[in-house]
């Protein structure tokens, strides 16, 4: 299903309205310091009132079957509002991994719960070095003799890893990296929350000690699945980044218009004006790169992999620039805890590095271009 322009606008405004009511700055600050790190009531409302968790899940699995374009709109808004909720982990990471696996049985088992907002999920790939490259993974899985598997090892930087009901874990078998589904309520699984640079995105460390698991997709197909997933989830992240960058720009422009120094608004100084214009350039590029990539994904275009790599790199840079300069335009007040500028700075840096960082995504782009 594809929404037209006016439907997209409508979607944006209803999500923005919802987030303004449910995820204002006070709520974000309260949640980022709480144990839970998200508000289950808000999560339930996002599912019941707006049907957000099911937005991109195919209709056969109980979702509304929209595409990346629609998802991008929602993610831009969540990025603006710094929503603390398991949306990114569940809908972007886990659901996309299930779909990319091509495992219809696993999809039928897990996606309806996700679509309905009953199940939260996440994807655990990186270990202590933070790499998302399946080739560098050391967690292992062995058959348990009954058709099931046992996974052992450690995972770090697992988004919402202490709360997700379903954990999709990449582990190595004799056949190579493979994807496994692990239930939160299983034995041998321990999750501890990590101290994070970006407090609005909870991360955990998992210890798996011969944890019972179900193979998702083919044994040894994890590398291929991950390559596909990384493209789609980095486009999701890009949308979130573009939304955050846009918010930083708006804050800066507003401050520059109103803050008086030397008897005039600081925005009347060319130094500040150019700073804001530079931010605008970055934000425009970011929105174009992430939205275009989403469109190409929905069209199933051959150009998608290149566009995904461009969106990831472009939006990572744009958000970091916008978040840094936003503090600078605010001066001293931008360096205080009470001002939201640092929350965006933290999110921008953390997102820039989430899937490996510039060295990795630049290389991926060149690789996609055959360079």
């Amino acid at each position: 299903m594809t929404a037209d322009e006016s439907e997209l606008r409508e979607l944006r405004s209803s999500v923005r309205e919802f987030l303004a009511a449910k995820s204002p700055e006070e709520a974000v600050r309260k949640l980022m310091e709480s144990e839970e790190r998200y508000d289950p009531a808000v999560w339930a409302q996002a599912a019941d009132q707006l049907r957000l968790p099911g937005l991109v899940i195919p209709e056969e699995y109980g979702g509304d079957g929209f595409g990346q374009v629609e998802l991008g709109v929602v993610l831009e808004e969540m990025g603006r509002a710094l929503l603390c909720a398991p949306f990114f982990a569940t809908v972007v990471l886990a659901a996309q991994a299930l779909l990319a696996s091509g495992d219809k049985e696993a999809c039928a088992r897990h996606l309806p719960g996700i679509a309905a907002g009953r199940t939260t999920a996440t994807l655990a790939v990186a270990e202590d070095d933070g790499s998302w490259d399946p080739a560098l993974i050391s967690a292992r899985a062995v058959p348990d003799g009954d058709g099931g598997w046992r996974v052992s090892g450690r995972k770090s930087f697992v988004i919402d890893g202490t709360t997700a009901d379903l954990l999709l874990v990449v582990a190595r078998t004799v056949a190579g990296p493979s994807l496994f589904a692990v239930d939160r309520e299983t034995t041998g699984l321990a999750a501890t929350s990590m101290e994070t640079l970006d407090a609005t995105r909870a991360m955990a460390r998992l210890t798996l000690d011969a944890v019972p698991a179900t193979l998702v997709g083919a044994d040894g197909a994890g590398g291929r699945v991950m390559a596909k997933v990384l493209d789609i989830i980095s486009v999701g992240l890009a949308a979130e980044q573009a939304g955050g960058a846009r918010r930083c720009l708006e804050m800066s422009a507003e401050h520059a218009r109103t803050r008086q120094q030397f008897g005039r608004p600081v925005g009347s100084f060319q130094a500040v004006k150019h700073k804001c214009a530079d931010m605008l350039v970055q934000v425009e590029l970011a929105e174009a790169a992430s939205r275009e990539a989403a469109l190409l994904a929905d069209e199933g275009s051959d150009e998608f992999p290149v566009a995904a790599a461009v969106a990831h790199a472009c939006c990572s840079k744009a958000y970091m620039v916008a978040a840094m300069e936003n503090i600078q335009v605010h001066g001293g007040i931008g360096f205080t805890w009470e001002h939201p500028a640092h929350l965006y700075f933290r999110r921008a840096k953390s997102s820039q590095l989430l899937f490996g960082g510039p060295a990795v995504y630049h290389e991926r782009l060149l690789d996609r271009l055959g360079i």
């Binding site: 070095d129 770090s156 640079l197 991360m203 120094q261 500040v272 001066g331 960082g357 510039p358």
Partner: protein, 419 residues
């Protein structure tokens, strides 16, 4: 350090410093033999210590400053009549170079603002008996000082301070609010800019005062910064009575007092080199980090590292040259503003370089030594582009005062004098 190969009085002085340090401090571990994974990995520029620990640290700073002072190394450039040693800035530099081989307490809480900025201001502008009272106290580590300049409405535009001082007999009565005041929570004195003549053009209606921080009506409230701790404060002044002899400089002549402080601020902020700051730009540390993350042979990162080190080392040379000029009795030119600008940029670039080397390891704490610890520097860097004059203001100064470029057109509003 080229400056050590200088006339013999300097060599004698260095030998004397070494004798003093040998007697009072342990040698620092050999910095060239830095080992990854050993020692403290903290990269905190701003402290986020619990209050008791912070107080203990302040006490250690004081104790070390006192030992320095009592042995003739606490105020090397100060005039002897106020307890100084009467030597040159180069002696100061020589001492710093010698001391960097020893493991001594970090005295930043005293030195950056109190000794680096407020001390010289008091020396230049206070009455003799006030100098007698406070200068030895500052340099002996008994008193800590803060800079009560910025206000909610006066940051870059410092001359528009609105805190009022009104004369009442032999006293002045101060009312207003200061903000971003670093170390006010530990300070015994502060230098405040106040408006004494609302009718004069704004630069000419300002008077500076030395404010005892325990005076009734001075209320210091911590302000939490984005790094999590609270190194700076809001300071509320309500009917604070200050005797006229605590005035610095002339009535309505406070702007020239402010300029003394600001000039020294640029010099201190730009040339400050100890602790995590030095570590962040240390070739050893950065190359060890690259080895530990298997990025040692990454060509792009190596090129960036080289660029970073070129800038950092050139900035250091700039500082050295400014000190040479000072030694020759001259006044350094634009070096201090360039140095202040580069200081913020060098550390900002270093922090982002390190985060690219670390990748996701800087976004959450895996417990690995020397990884997540860098997030503290990363979060401090935005401040370094703001405090002591923002990057934009420093560039304006360079363009207008050094290059003689015209100022931005003044609007009608800017001509008005703000009360």
């Amino acid at each position: 350090m080229g400056l050590l190969h200088e006339p013999h009085d300097l060599q004698d002085f260095a030998a004397e410093a070494r004798r003093f340090l040998d007697a009072h401090a342990a040698k620092a571990p050999d910095r060239t033999a830095f080992t990854w994974g050993e020692g403290d990995d903290s990269m905190a520029y701003f402290s986020s210590l619990p209050p008791e620990e912070e107080r203990a640290q302040v006490q250690r700073a004081r104790a070390w400053q006192r030992i320095r002072y009592e042995n003739g190394f606490g105020w090397i450039t100060g005039p002897p009549e106020y307890g100084g040693r009467g030597l040159t800035p180069v002696h100061d530099l020589v001492y710093d170079a010698v001391e960097s081989d020893y493991d001594v307490a970090d005295t930043g809480v005293l030195s950056v603002i109190g000794l680096g900025m407020i001390g010289p201001t008091v020396l230049a502008h206070a009455r003799p008996h006030i100098k007698d009272r406070w200068l030895p106290a500052l340099y002996r580590g008994d008193a800590i000082a803060c800079q009560l300049f910025s206000e909610p409405g006066a940051g870059s535009d410092l001359a528009s301070v609105a805190t009022r001082a009104v004369r009442e007999g032999e006293d002045w009565v101060l009312n207003g609010q200061k903000v971003w005041t670093s170390v006010a929570q530990h300070s015994q004195i502060g230098v405040a800019l106040t408006r004494t003549n609302p009718d004069a053009p704004k630069h000419r209606g300002i008077t500076a005062f030395l404010v005892p921080m325990d005076a009734p009506g001075v209320d210091v409230r911590p302000l939490r910064q984005m790094t999590g701790g609270a190194d700076f404060n809001e300071v509320f002044l309500t009917d604070v009575r200050i005797p006229d002899d605590h005035r610095l400089g002339e009535v309505d002549g406070g702007w020239s007092v402010a300029l003394t402080t600001l000039m020294n601020e640029r010099a201190t902020v730009g040339s400050e080199g100890a602790g995590p700051v030095a570590a962040a730009l240390s070739p050893d540390r950065l190359s060890a980090l690259m080895r530990a993350t298997w990025t040692w042979d990454d060509r792009a990162l190596r090129a960036r590292l080289a660029e970073l080190l070129v800038d950092a080392m050139a900035t250091e040379h700039l500082n050295t040259r400014a000190l040479r000029t000072l030694r020759g009795g001259g006044t350094p030119g634009p070096e201090m503003s360039v140095s202040k600008l580069m200081y913020g940029q060098n550390l900002t670039r270093a922090a982002h370089f390190v985060s690219d080397v670390l990748g996701p390891r800087i976004i959450a704490d895996t417990g690995r030594w020397g990884t997540y610890a860098w997030s503290e520097l990363l979060l401090a860097t935005p401040a370094l582009r703001i405090l002591g004059g923002t990057e934009e203001i420093m560039k304006n100064i360079l363009a207008e005062r050094v290059l003689g470029l015209p100022k931005e057109p003044v609007t009608a509003a800017a001509k008005e004098v703000r009360p």
